[in-house]
Protein backbone atom coordinates (compact mmCIF):
# COMPACT_ATOMS: atom_id res chain seq x y z
CA UNK A 1 0.00 0.00 0.00
CA UNK A 2 2.85 2.31 0.94
CA UNK A 3 4.48 1.70 -2.44
CA UNK A 4 1.18 2.26 -4.20
CA UNK A 5 0.62 5.66 -2.58
CA UNK A 6 4.24 6.62 -3.15
CA UNK A 7 3.98 5.72 -6.86
CA UNK A 8 0.64 7.43 -7.27
CA UNK A 9 2.01 10.56 -5.64
CA UNK A 10 5.01 10.65 -7.98
CA UNK A 11 2.64 10.13 -10.93
CA UNK A 12 0.31 12.94 -9.94
CA UNK A 13 3.24 15.31 -9.49
CA UNK A 14 4.60 14.34 -12.91
CA UNK A 15 1.12 14.83 -14.32
CA UNK A 16 1.08 18.44 -13.19
CA UNK A 17 3.99 19.17 -15.51
CA UNK A 18 2.38 17.24 -18.35
CA UNK A 19 -0.73 19.35 -17.84
CA UNK A 20 1.30 22.55 -18.03
CA UNK A 21 2.94 21.52 -21.33
CA UNK A 22 -0.38 20.31 -22.73
CA UNK A 23 -2.27 23.49 -21.86
CA UNK A 24 0.18 25.47 -23.99
CA UNK A 25 -0.22 23.03 -26.85
CA UNK A 26 -3.98 23.11 -26.43
CA UNK A 27 -4.01 26.91 -26.60
CA UNK A 28 -2.20 27.23 -29.92
CA UNK A 29 -4.20 24.30 -31.20
CA UNK A 30 -7.57 25.67 -30.14
CA UNK A 31 -7.01 29.25 -31.25
CA UNK A 32 -4.56 29.15 -34.17
CA UNK A 33 -5.70 25.69 -35.31
CA UNK A 34 -2.22 24.40 -35.84
CA UNK A 35 -0.68 21.20 -34.57
CA UNK A 36 2.63 22.40 -33.25
CA UNK A 37 5.09 19.52 -33.42
CA UNK A 38 7.78 21.86 -32.10
CA UNK A 39 6.03 22.56 -28.78
CA UNK A 40 8.22 20.12 -26.84
CA UNK A 41 11.29 21.70 -28.42
CA UNK A 42 10.22 25.03 -26.90
CA UNK A 43 10.23 23.31 -23.50
CA UNK A 44 13.68 21.90 -24.28
CA UNK A 45 15.03 25.32 -25.30
CA UNK A 46 13.69 26.85 -22.07
CA UNK A 47 15.37 24.09 -20.05
CA UNK A 48 18.70 24.85 -21.70
CA UNK A 49 18.23 28.57 -21.07
CA UNK A 50 17.57 27.87 -17.40
CA UNK A 51 20.55 25.53 -17.20
CA UNK A 52 22.98 28.01 -18.79
CA UNK A 53 21.82 30.89 -16.64
CA UNK A 54 22.52 28.72 -13.61
CA UNK A 55 25.86 27.48 -14.98
CA UNK A 56 27.21 30.83 -16.20
CA UNK A 57 25.70 33.39 -13.88
CA UNK A 58 24.59 31.28 -10.94
CA UNK A 59 20.92 32.14 -11.33
CA UNK A 60 18.54 30.01 -9.34
CA UNK A 61 16.27 28.13 -11.80
CA UNK A 62 13.15 29.72 -10.33
CA UNK A 63 14.66 33.21 -10.67
CA UNK A 64 15.47 32.67 -14.34
CA UNK A 65 11.71 32.42 -14.92
CA UNK A 66 11.66 36.22 -15.15
CA UNK A 67 14.05 36.12 -18.11
CA UNK A 68 12.88 32.89 -19.76
CA UNK A 69 9.20 33.87 -19.89
CA UNK A 70 9.60 37.14 -21.86
CA UNK A 71 12.21 35.59 -24.17
CA UNK A 72 9.90 32.67 -24.91
CA UNK A 73 7.08 35.11 -25.64
CA UNK A 74 9.26 36.74 -28.30
CA UNK A 75 10.20 33.31 -29.67
CA UNK A 76 6.50 32.50 -29.95
CA UNK A 77 5.76 35.80 -31.73
CA UNK A 78 8.55 35.16 -34.22
CA UNK A 79 7.40 31.57 -34.78
CA UNK A 80 3.88 32.73 -35.58
CA UNK A 81 4.86 35.75 -37.67
CA UNK A 82 7.60 34.23 -39.82
CA UNK A 83 6.85 30.52 -39.96
CA UNK A 84 3.19 29.79 -39.29
CA UNK A 85 1.44 32.87 -40.64
CA UNK A 86 2.77 32.54 -44.22
CA UNK A 87 1.33 29.02 -44.47
CA UNK A 88 -1.85 29.62 -42.44
CA UNK A 89 -4.02 29.00 -45.49
CA UNK A 90 -2.37 25.83 -46.79
CA UNK A 91 -3.31 22.22 -46.11
CA UNK A 92 -2.85 20.58 -42.70
CA UNK A 93 -0.13 18.32 -44.13
CA UNK A 94 1.97 21.36 -44.96
CA UNK A 95 1.45 22.86 -41.51
CA UNK A 96 2.54 19.60 -39.89
CA UNK A 97 5.67 19.52 -41.99
CA UNK A 98 6.64 23.10 -41.29
CA UNK A 99 6.41 22.58 -37.53
CA UNK A 100 8.27 19.26 -37.85
CA UNK A 101 10.95 21.22 -39.72
CA UNK A 102 11.12 23.69 -36.84
CA UNK A 103 11.48 20.84 -34.35
CA UNK A 104 14.28 19.22 -36.40
CA UNK A 105 16.12 22.55 -36.56
CA UNK A 106 15.76 23.25 -32.82
CA UNK A 107 16.76 19.72 -31.77
CA UNK A 108 19.88 19.77 -33.87
CA UNK A 109 20.72 23.35 -33.02
CA UNK A 110 20.82 22.22 -29.39
CA UNK A 111 22.95 19.22 -30.36
CA UNK A 112 25.29 21.40 -32.41
CA UNK A 113 25.68 24.15 -29.83
CA UNK A 114 25.68 22.20 -26.59
CA UNK A 115 26.36 18.57 -27.50
CA UNK A 116 24.38 15.46 -26.67
CA UNK A 117 25.23 15.15 -22.96
CA UNK A 118 22.65 15.47 -20.18
CA UNK A 119 22.76 18.87 -18.47
CA UNK A 120 21.41 19.07 -14.96
CA UNK A 121 21.18 21.78 -12.37
CA UNK A 122 22.20 21.07 -8.79
CA UNK A 123 20.77 23.34 -6.12
CA UNK A 124 20.39 23.10 -2.37
CA UNK A 125 16.83 21.84 -2.75
CA UNK A 126 17.40 19.39 -5.63
CA UNK A 127 17.23 16.37 -3.35
CA UNK A 128 15.16 17.80 -0.51
CA UNK A 129 12.18 15.71 0.41
CA UNK A 130 9.00 16.25 2.40
CA UNK A 131 7.72 13.27 4.32
CA UNK A 132 3.99 13.18 4.91
CA UNK A 133 2.62 10.09 6.63
CA UNK A 134 5.51 7.94 5.46
CA UNK A 135 5.22 9.09 1.84
CA UNK A 136 8.19 10.96 0.43
CA UNK A 137 7.50 13.97 -1.76
CA UNK A 138 10.30 15.60 -3.71
CA UNK A 139 10.18 19.36 -3.10
CA UNK A 140 11.10 20.58 -6.64
CA UNK A 141 8.51 18.20 -8.09
CA UNK A 142 5.92 19.54 -5.68
CA UNK A 143 6.83 23.11 -6.71
CA UNK A 144 6.48 22.12 -10.38
CA UNK A 145 3.09 20.58 -9.68
CA UNK A 146 1.87 23.59 -7.73
CA UNK A 147 3.25 25.96 -10.35
CA UNK A 148 1.54 23.99 -13.08
CA UNK A 149 -1.75 24.05 -11.20
CA UNK A 150 -1.44 27.78 -10.55
CA UNK A 151 -0.69 28.59 -14.18
CA UNK A 152 -3.51 26.47 -15.54
CA UNK A 153 -5.81 28.26 -13.07
CA UNK A 154 -4.51 31.67 -14.13
CA UNK A 155 -4.92 30.81 -17.78
CA UNK A 156 -8.44 29.57 -17.17
CA UNK A 157 -9.28 32.83 -15.40
CA UNK A 158 -7.62 34.81 -18.18
CA UNK A 159 -9.56 33.03 -20.93
CA UNK A 160 -12.89 33.32 -19.10
CA UNK A 161 -12.78 36.77 -17.56
CA UNK A 162 -10.52 39.15 -19.45
CA UNK A 163 -11.37 40.86 -22.72
CA UNK A 164 -8.31 39.42 -24.46
CA UNK A 165 -9.33 35.96 -23.30
CA UNK A 166 -12.81 36.47 -24.65
CA UNK A 167 -11.43 37.63 -27.98
CA UNK A 168 -9.22 34.54 -28.15
CA UNK A 169 -12.19 32.32 -27.41
CA UNK A 170 -14.28 34.07 -30.02
CA UNK A 171 -11.54 33.45 -32.59
CA UNK A 172 -11.39 29.81 -31.55
CA UNK A 173 -15.12 29.56 -31.96
CA UNK A 174 -15.55 31.31 -35.30
CA UNK A 175 -12.53 32.90 -36.90
CA UNK A 176 -14.38 34.41 -39.87
CA UNK A 177 -17.06 36.12 -37.85
CA UNK A 178 -14.43 37.44 -35.45
CA UNK A 179 -12.64 38.96 -38.43
CA UNK A 180 -15.88 40.49 -39.72
CA UNK A 181 -16.40 42.11 -36.34
CA UNK A 182 -13.11 43.92 -36.79
CA UNK A 183 -10.88 41.79 -34.58
CA UNK A 184 -7.31 41.81 -35.93
CA UNK A 185 -7.16 38.02 -36.02
CA UNK A 186 -3.55 37.61 -37.13
CA UNK A 187 -2.34 39.84 -34.30
CA UNK A 188 -4.23 37.74 -31.76
CA UNK A 189 -2.76 34.63 -33.36
CA UNK A 190 0.67 36.02 -32.61
CA UNK A 191 -0.38 36.70 -29.03
CA UNK A 192 -1.78 33.17 -28.62
CA UNK A 193 1.37 31.54 -30.00
CA UNK A 194 3.48 33.79 -27.76
CA UNK A 195 1.43 32.78 -24.73
CA UNK A 196 1.69 29.12 -25.68
CA UNK A 197 5.48 29.50 -25.90
CA UNK A 198 5.52 31.18 -22.47
CA UNK A 199 3.67 28.19 -21.01
CA UNK A 200 6.22 25.87 -22.63
CA UNK A 201 8.97 28.07 -21.16
CA UNK A 202 7.51 27.96 -17.66
CA UNK A 203 7.24 24.18 -17.94
CA UNK A 204 10.92 24.11 -18.90
CA UNK A 205 11.89 26.27 -15.91
CA UNK A 206 9.88 24.13 -13.48
CA UNK A 207 11.30 20.89 -14.94
CA UNK A 208 14.97 21.90 -14.82
CA UNK A 209 15.58 21.40 -11.04
CA UNK A 210 14.80 17.68 -11.29
CA UNK A 211 15.15 16.71 -14.98
CA UNK A 212 18.22 16.89 -17.20
CA UNK A 213 18.11 18.85 -20.42
CA UNK A 214 19.17 17.05 -23.60
CA UNK A 215 18.43 17.73 -27.27
CA UNK A 216 15.78 15.00 -27.66
CA UNK A 217 13.89 15.91 -24.48
CA UNK A 218 11.26 17.76 -26.50
CA UNK A 219 10.47 14.87 -28.84
CA UNK A 220 9.27 12.73 -25.92
CA UNK A 221 7.23 15.41 -24.26
CA UNK A 222 5.52 16.56 -27.47
CA UNK A 223 4.00 13.16 -28.05
CA UNK A 224 2.88 12.87 -24.42
CA UNK A 225 1.38 16.37 -24.53
CA UNK A 226 -0.57 15.42 -27.66
CA UNK A 227 -1.93 12.36 -25.92
CA UNK A 228 -3.02 14.52 -22.98
CA UNK A 229 -4.73 16.95 -25.34
CA UNK A 230 -6.57 14.17 -27.16
CA UNK A 231 -7.59 12.45 -23.93
CA UNK A 232 -8.64 15.68 -22.23
CA UNK A 233 -10.47 17.02 -25.26
CA UNK A 234 -9.30 19.65 -27.72
CA UNK A 235 -9.46 23.18 -26.44
CA UNK A 236 -10.54 21.95 -23.01
CA UNK A 237 -8.25 23.42 -20.32
CA UNK A 238 -9.69 21.49 -17.39
CA UNK A 239 -9.59 18.34 -19.49
CA UNK A 240 -5.90 18.90 -20.12
CA UNK A 241 -5.27 19.24 -16.39
CA UNK A 242 -7.16 16.06 -15.49
CA UNK A 243 -5.74 14.23 -18.52
CA UNK A 244 -2.19 15.22 -17.58
CA UNK A 245 -2.53 13.96 -14.02
CA UNK A 246 -4.22 10.78 -15.22
CA UNK A 247 -1.40 10.11 -17.68
CA UNK A 248 1.31 10.83 -15.12
CA UNK A 249 -0.31 8.44 -12.64
CA UNK A 250 -0.74 5.69 -15.24
CA UNK A 251 2.85 6.09 -16.35
CA UNK A 252 4.40 5.71 -12.89
CA UNK A 253 2.00 2.91 -11.87
CA UNK A 254 2.94 0.99 -15.03
CA UNK A 255 6.59 1.55 -14.22
CA UNK A 256 6.21 0.14 -10.71
CA UNK A 257 3.74 -2.68 -11.22
CA UNK A 258 4.22 -3.88 -14.81
CA UNK A 259 7.61 -2.94 -16.26
CA UNK A 260 9.58 0.30 -16.58
CA UNK A 261 10.15 -0.45 -20.29
CA UNK A 262 6.43 -0.46 -20.95
CA UNK A 263 5.55 2.95 -19.41
CA UNK A 264 5.26 4.74 -22.74
CA UNK A 265 3.75 1.74 -24.52
CA UNK A 266 0.82 1.85 -22.11
CA UNK A 267 0.39 5.60 -22.68
CA UNK A 268 0.36 5.17 -26.46
CA UNK A 269 -1.97 2.20 -26.24
CA UNK A 270 -4.30 4.31 -24.07
CA UNK A 271 -4.11 7.08 -26.65
CA UNK A 272 -5.12 4.75 -29.46
CA UNK A 273 -7.96 3.27 -27.40
CA UNK A 274 -9.33 6.69 -26.42
CA UNK A 275 -9.10 7.91 -29.99
CA UNK A 276 -11.09 4.89 -31.16
CA UNK A 277 -13.69 4.80 -28.43
CA UNK A 278 -14.14 8.48 -27.62
CA UNK A 279 -12.43 10.63 -30.26
CA UNK A 280 -13.86 13.80 -28.71
CA UNK A 281 -11.82 13.09 -25.57
CA UNK A 282 -12.91 11.99 -22.12
CA UNK A 283 -14.24 15.40 -21.15
CA UNK A 284 -15.75 16.60 -24.39
CA UNK A 285 -14.17 18.65 -27.12
CA UNK A 286 -14.22 22.32 -27.94
CA UNK A 287 -15.90 23.63 -31.06
CA UNK A 288 -14.43 23.38 -34.51
CA UNK A 289 -12.48 20.21 -33.80
CA UNK A 290 -13.65 18.67 -37.07
CA UNK A 291 -11.66 21.35 -38.87
CA UNK A 292 -8.44 19.90 -37.53
CA UNK A 293 -9.38 16.29 -38.04
CA UNK A 294 -11.45 14.84 -35.23
CA UNK A 295 -14.85 13.59 -36.22
Amino acid sequence: MQIFIQTLMAGVLLGGVYALVSVGLNLIFGVVRIINFAHGELVMVAMYMTFWMWQLWGFDPYVSFFIVAPVMFLVGLALQRFIIQPIQGSSSAMKIFVTIGVSIVLQNLALYLWGGQYRSVTTSYTTSVLTVGGVNISVPRLIAFAGGLLLVGLLFFFMQRTLTGKVLRSIAEDRDTARLLGIPVSRFYMFATGLSAVLAGVAGVLLTPFSSAFPLYGAQITLIAFIVVVIGGMGNMVGALVGGILLGAIQTLTGTYIAPGLQQVVLFALFIVVVLVRPQGLFGAGVGTEEVGLK
Partner: protein
Protein backbone atom coordinates in the same frame (compact mmCIF):
# COMPACT_ATOMS: atom_id res chain seq x y z
CA UNK B 1 -0.42 6.47 -68.99
CA UNK B 2 0.72 7.47 -72.43
CA UNK B 3 3.01 5.33 -74.55
CA UNK B 4 5.87 7.84 -74.60
CA UNK B 5 5.85 7.91 -70.78
CA UNK B 6 6.31 4.14 -70.69
CA UNK B 7 9.16 4.38 -73.22
CA UNK B 8 10.93 7.05 -71.15
CA UNK B 9 10.45 5.02 -67.96
CA UNK B 10 11.87 1.89 -69.64
CA UNK B 11 14.87 3.87 -70.89
CA UNK B 12 15.56 5.20 -67.37
CA UNK B 13 15.38 1.68 -65.94
CA UNK B 14 17.85 0.40 -68.58
CA UNK B 15 20.28 3.22 -67.77
CA UNK B 16 19.97 2.48 -64.04
CA UNK B 17 20.52 -1.24 -64.67
CA UNK B 18 23.76 -0.44 -66.50
CA UNK B 19 24.99 1.83 -63.67
CA UNK B 20 27.17 -0.74 -61.79
CA UNK B 21 29.21 -1.27 -65.00
CA UNK B 22 30.31 2.37 -64.88
CA UNK B 23 30.29 2.88 -61.11
CA UNK B 24 32.63 0.40 -59.44
CA UNK B 25 33.41 2.48 -56.36
CA UNK B 26 31.74 0.70 -53.42
CA UNK B 27 31.02 3.94 -51.57
CA UNK B 28 29.18 5.42 -54.54
CA UNK B 29 27.39 2.14 -55.07
CA UNK B 30 26.21 2.22 -51.46
CA UNK B 31 24.79 5.69 -52.12
CA UNK B 32 23.12 4.43 -55.30
CA UNK B 33 21.52 1.59 -53.32
CA UNK B 34 20.28 4.09 -50.73
CA UNK B 35 18.81 6.37 -53.39
CA UNK B 36 17.05 3.48 -55.13
CA UNK B 37 15.80 2.09 -51.81
CA UNK B 38 14.43 5.49 -50.79
CA UNK B 39 12.75 5.86 -54.18
CA UNK B 40 10.97 2.60 -53.40
CA UNK B 41 10.16 3.59 -49.81
CA UNK B 42 8.87 7.01 -50.83
CA UNK B 43 6.76 5.65 -53.66
CA UNK B 44 5.34 2.99 -51.32
CA UNK B 45 4.57 5.64 -48.67
CA UNK B 46 2.94 7.76 -51.35
CA UNK B 47 0.44 5.03 -52.29
CA UNK B 48 -1.25 5.66 -48.95
CA UNK B 49 -1.05 9.40 -49.68
CA UNK B 50 -3.18 9.05 -52.84
CA UNK B 51 -6.20 9.04 -50.55
CA UNK B 52 -4.84 11.97 -48.52
CA UNK B 53 -3.41 9.94 -45.60
CA UNK B 54 -0.26 11.56 -44.24
CA UNK B 55 1.48 8.74 -42.40
CA UNK B 56 4.46 9.20 -40.15
CA UNK B 57 4.27 5.55 -39.19
CA UNK B 58 5.87 3.73 -42.07
CA UNK B 59 8.96 2.91 -40.02
CA UNK B 60 6.65 0.43 -38.26
CA UNK B 61 6.17 -1.50 -41.49
CA UNK B 62 9.84 -1.25 -42.36
CA UNK B 63 10.80 -2.67 -38.97
CA UNK B 64 8.14 -5.37 -39.13
CA UNK B 65 9.56 -6.46 -42.49
CA UNK B 66 13.13 -6.51 -41.15
CA UNK B 67 12.31 -8.40 -37.97
CA UNK B 68 9.99 -10.92 -39.64
CA UNK B 69 12.53 -11.88 -42.27
CA UNK B 70 15.46 -11.96 -39.82
CA UNK B 71 13.57 -13.94 -37.17
CA UNK B 72 12.32 -16.48 -39.71
CA UNK B 73 15.92 -16.97 -40.84
CA UNK B 74 17.42 -17.14 -37.34
CA UNK B 75 14.77 -19.19 -35.56
CA UNK B 76 13.45 -21.44 -38.31
CA UNK B 77 16.23 -21.28 -40.91
CA UNK B 78 13.75 -20.06 -43.50
CA UNK B 79 15.26 -18.71 -46.72
CA UNK B 80 15.34 -14.85 -46.80
CA UNK B 81 13.51 -14.77 -50.15
CA UNK B 82 10.59 -16.51 -48.47
CA UNK B 83 11.31 -14.39 -45.39
CA UNK B 84 10.74 -11.32 -47.53
CA UNK B 85 7.30 -12.60 -48.48
CA UNK B 86 6.69 -13.19 -44.76
CA UNK B 87 7.83 -9.61 -44.08
CA UNK B 88 5.45 -8.30 -46.74
CA UNK B 89 2.62 -10.27 -45.15
CA UNK B 90 3.29 -9.16 -41.56
CA UNK B 91 3.80 -5.53 -42.61
CA UNK B 92 0.51 -5.73 -44.52
CA UNK B 93 -1.16 -6.96 -41.33
CA UNK B 94 0.41 -4.02 -39.50
CA UNK B 95 -1.08 -1.77 -42.17
CA UNK B 96 -4.47 -3.33 -41.55
CA UNK B 97 -4.08 -2.50 -37.85
CA UNK B 98 -3.28 1.14 -38.66
CA UNK B 99 -6.43 1.25 -40.80
CA UNK B 100 -8.52 1.42 -37.62
CA UNK B 101 -7.30 4.95 -36.75
CA UNK B 102 -7.17 5.81 -40.47
CA UNK B 103 -10.91 5.31 -40.79
CA UNK B 104 -11.73 6.97 -37.48
CA UNK B 105 -9.47 9.99 -37.62
CA UNK B 106 -8.71 12.62 -40.16
CA UNK B 107 -5.72 14.70 -41.06
CA UNK B 108 -3.27 15.46 -38.25
CA UNK B 109 -4.78 12.99 -35.80
CA UNK B 110 -4.17 10.05 -38.07
CA UNK B 111 -0.62 11.33 -38.43
CA UNK B 112 -0.25 11.38 -34.64
CA UNK B 113 -1.73 7.90 -34.25
CA UNK B 114 0.69 6.57 -36.88
CA UNK B 115 3.58 8.17 -35.02
CA UNK B 116 2.47 6.54 -31.77
CA UNK B 117 2.25 3.21 -33.63
CA UNK B 118 5.97 3.33 -34.50
CA UNK B 119 6.88 4.23 -30.94
CA UNK B 120 4.85 1.34 -29.53
CA UNK B 121 6.52 -1.17 -31.86
CA UNK B 122 10.00 0.25 -31.19
CA UNK B 123 9.54 0.10 -27.42
CA UNK B 124 8.00 -3.37 -27.61
CA UNK B 125 10.93 -4.65 -29.68
CA UNK B 126 13.30 -3.30 -27.02
CA UNK B 127 11.19 -4.88 -24.28
CA UNK B 128 10.66 -8.33 -25.82
CA UNK B 129 14.31 -9.27 -25.33
CA UNK B 130 13.71 -13.00 -25.65
CA UNK B 131 12.26 -12.69 -29.13
CA UNK B 132 14.03 -9.69 -30.63
CA UNK B 133 17.33 -9.53 -28.77
CA UNK B 134 16.33 -6.27 -27.11
CA UNK B 135 18.17 -3.06 -27.92
CA UNK B 136 21.28 -4.94 -29.12
CA UNK B 137 19.17 -6.35 -31.93
CA UNK B 138 19.86 -9.33 -34.16
CA UNK B 139 22.69 -10.29 -36.48
CA UNK B 140 21.76 -12.02 -39.70
CA UNK B 141 24.25 -14.79 -40.62
CA UNK B 142 26.07 -14.37 -43.91
CA UNK B 143 25.93 -17.26 -46.37
CA UNK B 144 27.14 -15.68 -49.62
CA UNK B 145 25.23 -16.54 -52.77
CA UNK B 146 21.95 -15.78 -54.49
CA UNK B 147 20.21 -18.62 -52.69
CA UNK B 148 20.53 -16.91 -49.27
CA UNK B 149 20.39 -13.29 -50.54
CA UNK B 150 23.77 -12.49 -49.07
CA UNK B 151 26.73 -11.15 -51.00
CA UNK B 152 30.24 -9.88 -50.44
CA UNK B 153 30.06 -7.14 -53.10
CA UNK B 154 27.32 -4.52 -53.39
CA UNK B 155 26.34 -5.05 -57.04
CA UNK B 156 23.82 -7.89 -56.45
CA UNK B 157 22.13 -5.83 -53.71
CA UNK B 158 21.84 -2.96 -56.15
CA UNK B 159 20.08 -5.15 -58.70
CA UNK B 160 17.71 -6.61 -56.10
CA UNK B 161 16.69 -3.20 -54.73
CA UNK B 162 16.39 -1.81 -58.27
CA UNK B 163 13.95 -4.58 -59.24
CA UNK B 164 11.99 -3.99 -56.02
CA UNK B 165 11.76 -0.25 -56.63
CA UNK B 166 10.73 -0.70 -60.27
CA UNK B 167 7.98 -3.07 -59.16
CA UNK B 168 6.87 -0.56 -56.50
CA UNK B 169 6.76 2.29 -59.02
CA UNK B 170 4.83 0.07 -61.46
CA UNK B 171 2.28 -0.82 -58.76
CA UNK B 172 1.99 2.85 -57.77
CA UNK B 173 1.42 3.94 -61.39
CA UNK B 174 -1.05 1.10 -61.99
CA UNK B 175 -3.09 2.17 -58.95
CA UNK B 176 -2.82 5.87 -59.77
CA UNK B 177 -4.18 5.49 -63.32
CA UNK B 178 -6.86 2.91 -62.45
CA UNK B 179 -10.39 3.63 -61.21
CA UNK B 180 -9.11 2.93 -57.69
CA UNK B 181 -6.59 5.73 -58.07
CA UNK B 182 -9.16 8.17 -59.43
CA UNK B 183 -11.61 7.46 -56.63
CA UNK B 184 -8.87 7.59 -54.01
CA UNK B 185 -7.62 10.95 -55.23
CA UNK B 186 -11.16 12.27 -55.31
CA UNK B 187 -11.70 11.08 -51.73
CA UNK B 188 -8.41 12.75 -50.78
CA UNK B 189 -9.71 16.11 -51.91
CA UNK B 190 -13.29 15.78 -50.60
CA UNK B 191 -14.18 12.57 -48.84
CA UNK B 192 -17.77 13.46 -48.01
CA UNK B 193 -18.66 14.49 -51.55
CA UNK B 194 -17.16 11.27 -52.91
CA UNK B 195 -19.11 9.17 -50.42
CA UNK B 196 -22.27 11.05 -51.31
CA UNK B 197 -21.68 10.02 -54.94
CA UNK B 198 -21.75 6.39 -53.85
CA UNK B 199 -18.03 5.62 -53.79
CA UNK B 200 -17.10 3.41 -50.85
CA UNK B 201 -13.91 5.23 -50.09
CA UNK B 202 -13.22 3.36 -46.82
CA UNK B 203 -12.41 0.13 -48.67
CA UNK B 204 -10.12 1.97 -51.06
CA UNK B 205 -8.28 3.66 -48.20
CA UNK B 206 -7.77 0.30 -46.48
CA UNK B 207 -6.53 -1.16 -49.75
CA UNK B 208 -4.05 1.66 -50.36
CA UNK B 209 -2.64 1.65 -46.82
CA UNK B 210 -2.22 -2.14 -46.77
CA UNK B 211 -0.47 -2.16 -50.18
CA UNK B 212 1.70 0.75 -49.05
CA UNK B 213 2.60 -1.02 -45.79
CA UNK B 214 3.32 -4.35 -47.49
CA UNK B 215 5.69 -2.75 -50.03
CA UNK B 216 7.49 -0.93 -47.22
CA UNK B 217 7.85 -4.28 -45.41
CA UNK B 218 9.62 -5.76 -48.45
CA UNK B 219 12.26 -3.02 -48.26
CA UNK B 220 12.61 -3.69 -44.53
CA UNK B 221 13.37 -7.34 -45.29
CA UNK B 222 15.89 -6.26 -47.93
CA UNK B 223 17.58 -3.94 -45.41
CA UNK B 224 17.94 -6.82 -42.94
CA UNK B 225 19.95 -8.72 -45.57
CA UNK B 226 21.90 -5.69 -46.74
CA UNK B 227 22.97 -4.37 -43.35
CA UNK B 228 23.29 -7.78 -41.57
CA UNK B 229 22.40 -6.12 -38.26
CA UNK B 230 18.96 -5.00 -37.21
CA UNK B 231 18.03 -3.21 -34.01
CA UNK B 232 15.00 -1.30 -32.68
CA UNK B 233 16.52 2.17 -32.91
CA UNK B 234 17.55 1.71 -36.55
CA UNK B 235 14.86 -0.47 -38.09
CA UNK B 236 11.98 1.17 -36.24
CA UNK B 237 13.64 4.58 -36.61
CA UNK B 238 11.03 7.29 -36.98
CA UNK B 239 13.56 9.71 -38.49
CA UNK B 240 15.03 7.30 -41.04
CA UNK B 241 12.07 5.34 -42.32
CA UNK B 242 8.96 7.32 -41.37
CA UNK B 243 9.95 10.97 -41.59
CA UNK B 244 12.39 10.58 -44.47
CA UNK B 245 10.00 8.99 -47.02
CA UNK B 246 7.28 11.45 -46.01
CA UNK B 247 9.72 14.32 -46.41
CA UNK B 248 10.83 13.13 -49.86
CA UNK B 249 7.19 12.80 -50.84
CA UNK B 250 6.28 16.29 -49.60
CA UNK B 251 9.28 17.89 -51.31
CA UNK B 252 8.64 16.11 -54.59
CA UNK B 253 4.85 16.38 -54.53
CA UNK B 254 2.62 14.19 -52.37
CA UNK B 255 0.02 12.13 -54.17
CA UNK B 256 1.58 12.22 -57.65
CA UNK B 257 3.45 9.40 -59.43
CA UNK B 258 6.61 11.26 -60.37
CA UNK B 259 6.85 13.58 -57.33
CA UNK B 260 8.07 11.04 -54.76
CA UNK B 261 10.69 9.73 -57.19
CA UNK B 262 12.04 13.24 -57.80
CA UNK B 263 11.92 13.95 -54.06
CA UNK B 264 13.89 10.81 -53.16
CA UNK B 265 16.46 11.39 -55.93
CA UNK B 266 17.10 14.94 -54.72
CA UNK B 267 16.82 14.56 -50.95
CA UNK B 268 18.66 11.26 -50.29
CA UNK B 269 22.03 12.38 -51.74
CA UNK B 270 21.56 15.77 -50.04
CA UNK B 271 21.17 14.03 -46.68
CA UNK B 272 24.16 11.75 -47.32
CA UNK B 273 26.28 14.64 -48.56
CA UNK B 274 25.46 16.82 -45.55
CA UNK B 275 26.18 13.97 -43.15
CA UNK B 276 29.60 13.37 -44.75
CA UNK B 277 30.44 17.05 -45.09
CA UNK B 278 29.69 17.89 -41.45
CA UNK B 279 30.74 14.76 -39.58
CA UNK B 280 32.80 16.87 -37.19
CA UNK B 281 29.94 19.20 -36.28
CA UNK B 282 27.20 17.13 -34.68
CA UNK B 283 23.74 18.13 -35.78
CA UNK B 284 24.73 20.76 -38.34
CA UNK B 285 23.68 18.55 -41.27
CA UNK B 286 20.19 18.16 -39.84
CA UNK B 287 19.90 21.90 -39.17
CA UNK B 288 20.48 22.56 -42.87
CA UNK B 289 18.15 19.70 -43.73
CA UNK B 290 15.40 21.14 -41.51
CA UNK B 291 15.82 24.60 -43.01
CA UNK B 292 15.58 23.14 -46.53
CA UNK B 293 12.37 21.40 -45.49
CA UNK B 294 10.81 24.57 -44.04
CA UNK B 295 11.80 26.67 -47.05
CA UNK B 296 10.56 24.11 -49.59
CA UNK B 297 7.19 23.78 -47.86
CA UNK B 298 6.79 27.54 -47.52
CA UNK B 299 7.86 28.39 -51.07
CA UNK B 300 6.25 25.45 -52.86
CA UNK B 301 3.37 24.16 -50.73
CA UNK B 302 2.47 21.53 -53.35
CA UNK B 303 6.03 20.23 -53.73
CA UNK B 304 8.28 20.40 -56.78
CA UNK B 305 5.71 18.76 -59.04
CA UNK B 306 3.12 21.49 -58.54
CA UNK B 307 5.81 24.17 -58.84
CA UNK B 308 6.87 22.67 -62.19
CA UNK B 309 3.25 22.49 -63.27
CA UNK B 310 2.46 26.13 -62.43
CA UNK B 311 5.78 27.09 -64.02
CA UNK B 312 4.91 25.46 -67.34
CA UNK B 313 1.37 26.87 -67.08
CA UNK B 314 2.76 30.35 -66.71
CA UNK B 315 5.10 29.83 -69.66
CA UNK B 316 2.17 28.55 -71.67
CA UNK B 317 0.04 31.51 -70.72
CA UNK B 318 2.92 33.86 -71.56
CA UNK B 319 3.14 32.26 -74.97
CA UNK B 320 -0.55 32.74 -75.56
CA UNK B 321 -0.33 36.36 -74.47
CA UNK B 322 2.46 36.96 -76.93
CA UNK B 323 0.40 35.31 -79.65
CA UNK B 324 -2.58 37.44 -78.73
CA UNK B 325 -0.40 40.56 -78.86
CA UNK B 326 0.81 39.56 -82.31
CA UNK B 327 -2.75 39.06 -83.51
CA UNK B 328 -3.90 42.43 -82.17
CA UNK B 329 -0.92 44.07 -83.87
CA UNK B 330 -2.03 42.59 -87.16
CA UNK B 331 -5.49 43.93 -86.54
CA UNK B 332 -4.28 47.41 -85.71
CA UNK B 333 -4.24 48.80 -89.25
CA UNK B 334 -7.82 47.67 -89.69
CA UNK B 335 -8.79 49.60 -86.61
CA UNK B 336 -7.13 52.68 -87.94
CA UNK B 337 -9.03 52.29 -91.14
CA UNK B 338 -12.23 52.30 -89.21
CA UNK B 339 -11.28 55.59 -87.62
CA UNK B 340 -12.87 58.55 -89.30
Amino acid sequence: MKRYQIVIAAAVVVVLALLPIVVTDQYLLNNAILVVMFIGLTVAWNIAAFGGALSLGHAAFFGLGSYTSALLLLRFDINPWIGMIGGVFVAGLGGLLLCIPLLRLRGPFFTLASLAFVEVLRLLSIYARGLTGGSEGLTVPSRPGWLWMSFLGREPYYYIVLVMSVVTVAISAAIYYSWIGYQLRASGSDDEAVNALGVRSSRLKVFSLVVSAAMTGAFGAFAAQYYFIIDPDTNFSYVLYALQPALNGIVGGMGTVLGPIIGAVLMTPLGEYLRDAFTAEQGLSYIIYGVVLIVVVMVMPGGLMSAIRTGTDRLGRGGRRRAAAAVSKELEPTREEVKP
